[in-house]
């Protein structure tokens, strides 16, 4: 492929371009550990892959208790920890007192003590002198790391991208590592702590060590953005970190996201984990910045593609790939100063401190947490349900109250009846059943007098539907009415079946009915067009009348417009759900009507039944319909009154 896509702005660039032509973001991975001469790149970008590394996702899941997309959780993993443990250190937070210092030596996990004998586990001091410029310790780290590791590392081992060192003063006066050289010398330095924790024998011991020795000085972290911020102790966190089997796929670089545990940290009294409560869903994580203009879109840590990741050459993790290296995180824009205290700080601690710092910094931007809506019983819904059920049921079961039947026939009913009476004898009538099965209750009541009328005249019927569920609905209704007239299926009425393709197919059918429908429904087999009553039908205009039964205005419009050219002057009649009528009526009332007859709503259907002198389903629902609508009207009026009263009350209070 000749082009690559900028991870920042998605612009296509030449494959060999070093930076994006639009936004200037670097397109190539930056330097490697093995090339120390390379200066830290000025760019800090969003991870090229941009994804939340699975381990972090799991971490978050564990801490927050929120599940991940199921498929992403490897089955063998049994992540345990966190919800119980993370709270521990959170819960232990209390205001630090200025004398209080970092964790006592004894609390440094043994393995770390072993691993870094040179690094005294010195407590950090809440020092104020944080504004030192370029961290020369970092330079030393590099030198040392280079000196120490290269021999063991394959020459081509990719490493973390050269990180950025910005001479800007760190926002917090925190004291990171006091003795960088030793840190750098430590082979485990570049490893995420949780990886180390994965060492089977040491993990338990560490866990033990942690819990009691809650670093109380940490507490302050939750309270303000005081200089202690960076003292977040990663070691403790290790207990929470998922001790997953390390696989290269799982080892992700540090994400730029603020994990949820950080968010939790914010809540002044550390919330109990089980509650998982009212977390202010507030702080804008950096990745969300992606939705903002490009400049704010940069992350602090650059993450390389997986295959570029370092294969650890030394130490217990030798052979593992993708383990975190110290540099990128260490080199985050901050300036360590030589503080009075010295603290063993891992890159995880750094990362956490950085996150915490950002969090605090961004606090201004916080949205208010959504007030947790207390679930209230839906009294209104219950009331409406009961009233409507009763209103609909009483006339059904008790027979009353009796509503007066409509006396006047709507004008359009006369028009419709004369269309039916004028339909040429012997020519089949096309009935299109285009409604959802759910509306059968309404449309069957409305359409049955019309079908009654048609069958009463002895007209043969052919049904069709553009919905898969249409044919059985047609059979339900037509067979029911036909029983009264002694009409027989496949003799007096035929089901053409399902016209596939939905609205698109209407035009195909209108143009050539016999080529659009292949097999009927409940027919004797073979093409439905071979039925005697359809033998003379070759085009749409061979039907004496087209009736469309539908709930949807779209369907009604489709049939109106698509069939117009092929109707050959045959009338088109719409049987509509009450809701669809207002939008179809313009076609009926136009100066050149495209719809010649319309039948809609229960009152019209009852009038039709009265006209035919044949009480049917419409009439049987009349009383319930009346009572139901009355109930709805009462609710609407009550709503209006309630609204008006509330408005007046508020007005008077003012």
């Amino acid at each position: 492929m000749a082009e690559i896509r900028c991870p920042m702005c998605s612009t296509l660039n030449q494959a060999d371009a070093a930076s994006c032509k639009l936004c200037g973001a670097r397109l190539k991975p930056t330097g490697r550990l093995g090339t120390p001469s390379e200066e830290p790149g000025p760019e800090m970008r969003l991870p090229a892959t941009g994804e939340l590394p699975p381990w972090l996702a799991r971490l978050r899941k564990d801490v927050t208790g929120r599940g991940q997309v199921p498929a992403e959780v490897p089955p063998e993993e049994t992540p345990e920890p966190p919800s119980e443990e993370s709270p521990d250190w959170l819960g232990g937070l209390r205001p630090a007192d200025s004398e209080e210092e970092g964790p006592p030596e004894g609390e440094v996990p043994d393995w770390l003590a072993e691993a870094a004998p040179a690094a005294p586990a010195t407590p950090a001091e809440p020092a104020e002198q944080g504004e030192g410029p370029v961290p020369d310790w970092l330079v030393r780290i590099r030198a040392k790391a280079q000196a120490d590791t290269p021999a063991e590392e394959p020459a081509d081992t990719p490493s973390a991208p050269a990180p950025t060192v910005e001479p800007t003063p760190p926002p917090t006066a925190a004291q990171p590592p006091a003795s960088p050289p030793e840190l750098a010398a430590e082979p485990t330095l570049g490893l995420p702590d949780w990886l180390l924790a994965a060492r089977p024998d040491e993990a338990p011991r560490k866990a033990e060590a942690e819990t009691p020795g809650e670093p109380s000085w940490l507490k302050e972290a939750g309270l303000d953005s005081s200089p202690e911020l960076p003292h977040v102790q990663a070691l403790i966190f290790e207990g929470d970190a998922p001790r997953t089997p390390v696989s290269d796929a799982d080892v992700g670089p540090i994400s730029v996201e603020v994990p949820d545990w950080m968010t939790e940290l914010k809540a002044p009294p550390a919330p109990p984990p089980e509650g998982r409560p009212n977390l202010a869903p507030a702080t804008l994580p950096a990745w969300l910045e992606a939705m903002r203009p490009v400049d704010t879109f940069r992350s602090v840590v650059e993450i390389e593609p997986e295959d570029d990741q370092t294969v650890e050459a030394a130490g217990p993790l030798a052979g593992l790939r993708g383990v975190l290296l110290a540099e990128p995180v260490m080199a985050m824009p901050r300036t360590p100063t030589a503080g009075g205290g010295r603290l063993e700080v891992t890159e995880r601690q750094f990362a956490q401190a950085e996150l915490l710092h950002r969090l605090v910094e961004e606090e201004q931007r916080e949205a208010k947490p959504r007030p947790q809506a207390r679930p209230r019983p839906p009294l209104l819904r219950w009331l409406v349900s009961v009233v409507l059920f009763v209103a609909a049921a009483v006339p059904t079961f008790a027979g009353g109250p009796a509503f007066p039947l409509p006396r006047l026939q709507p004008r359009e009913l006369d028009v419709l009846a004369s269309i039916v009476d004028g339909a040429p004898a012997g020519q089949p009538i096309l009935l299109v059943f285009d409604y959802e099965a759910g509306y059968a209750g309404e449309l069957e009541a409305v359409a049955s007098p019309l079908i009654d009328h048609l069958l009463g005249r002895g007209l043969p019927l052919a049904t069709l539907s553009t919905r898969p569920t249409g044919p059985p609905l047609a059979e339900r209704l037509v067979a029911q009415v036909a029983a009264r007239h002694g009409a027989v299926r496949n003799q007096d009425f035929v089901h053409l079946g399902y016209l596939s393709g939905g609205p698109t197919a209407v035009q195909l059918f209108a143009a050539a009915p016999t080529q659009a429908v292949f097999r009927g429904y409940l027919g004797p087999g073979g093409s439905p067009w071979l039925q005697p009553m359809l033998l003379n039908v070759h085009s749409l205009s061979d039907f004496g009348l087209v009736v469309v039964l539908t709930t949807g205005t779209e369907i009604a419009r489709t049939w109106t417009e698509q069939t117009q050219p092929w109707l050959g002057g045959r009338p088109l009649v719409m049987v509509l759900s009450a809701g669809a009528e207002p939008l179809v009526r313009p076609y009926y009332e136009a100066l050149q009507p495209k719809v010649q007859g319309i039948l809609s709503g229960l009152p019209a259907a009852v009038s039709y039944e009265l006209r035919l002198g044949q009480p049917g389903p419409a009439e049987s629902r009349w009383n319930a319909f009346g009572l139901g609508l009355t109930a709805v009207e009462v609710f609407l009026i009550a709503g209006l009154l309630y609204g008006a009263a509330a408005w007046l009350l508020r007005g008077s209070r003012r």
């Binding site: 199921p70 393709g501 009346g626 009572l627 009355t630 709503g639």
Partner: protein, 211 residues
């Protein structure tokens, strides 16, 4: 990363769209038949996509059952009923007695009951709207709905009187004249939006397909 294929699909989508569109507006027989052919293909594809959708449903619920996720028994029920109905349908055909029974005794009643639930939903929503959103529009909305409802249904009291007849006429006037204008305006607006959306696809700007 976008591949050359993506551009090919874009070009083809534009081509197909333009062919279909010109079949609409040009009365050239060859164009018409190309359009009709393309639409038939689309119909077949749409049916095949339905099967793909079924596979998608099956896999989603299969995973749920496999992982014993919360609510997995429902998913198991769905799997059973889906596969059962589908296989019965394949073997006996959709117009067999068994499928008709499944339709009439399961699908239709449930669907109708869902529509019946709408009655409650809409009544509650209507009440809430006028009770809470106190502005001119919601008052007009409620009054308008009331006019139509009162003019539609029978009245227990005075159902034979002149008031009722007047209400019926008011309803007709209201819904056929007063509402017709805005309905047309809304329809025109929707058609405008649909046209422009379709044009964006035909111009290759919106490419919701492929990668």
């Amino acid at each position: 990363m976008r591949s050359g294929l993506h551009y090919l699909w874009t070009a083809l989508a534009i081509l197909f769209g333009v062919l279909v569109l010109s079949g609409y507006v040009l009365a050239v027989p060859s164009l018409q038949s190309i359009r009709s052919l393309l639409m038939q293909w689309a119909v077949v594809l749409s049916a095949a996509a339905l099967l793909l959708g079924l596979v998608n449903m099956l896999s989603v619920h299969w995973n749920k059952v496999g992982a014993q996720e919360k609510g997995w028994p429902y998913s198991a029920l769905l799997l059973l009923s889906l596969l059962g109905t589908f296989i019965l349908g394949l073997v006996f055909g959709p117009d067999s007695a068994i499928l008709t029974a499944l339709f009439n005794d399961i699908q239709q009643p449930v669907e109708a009951s869902l529509v019946a639930l709408l009655a409650i939903t809409l009544t509650v929503a209507g009440f809430r709207l006028v009770a809470r959103r106190r502005n001119a529009a919601s008052v007009v909305f409620a009054v308008s709905a009331l006019i139509v409802l009162l003019g539609t249904g029978p009245w227990l009291i005075g159902g034979d009187g002149s008031w009722f007849l007047t209400m019926g006429e008011l309803r007709a006037w209201w819904s056929q004249v007063w509402a017709a204008g805005a309905a047309r305006g809304l329809l025109l607006g929707v058609a405008l939006g649909a046209t422009v959306t379709g044009l964006r696809v035909l111009l290759g700007s919106d490419r919701p397909y492929g990668d």
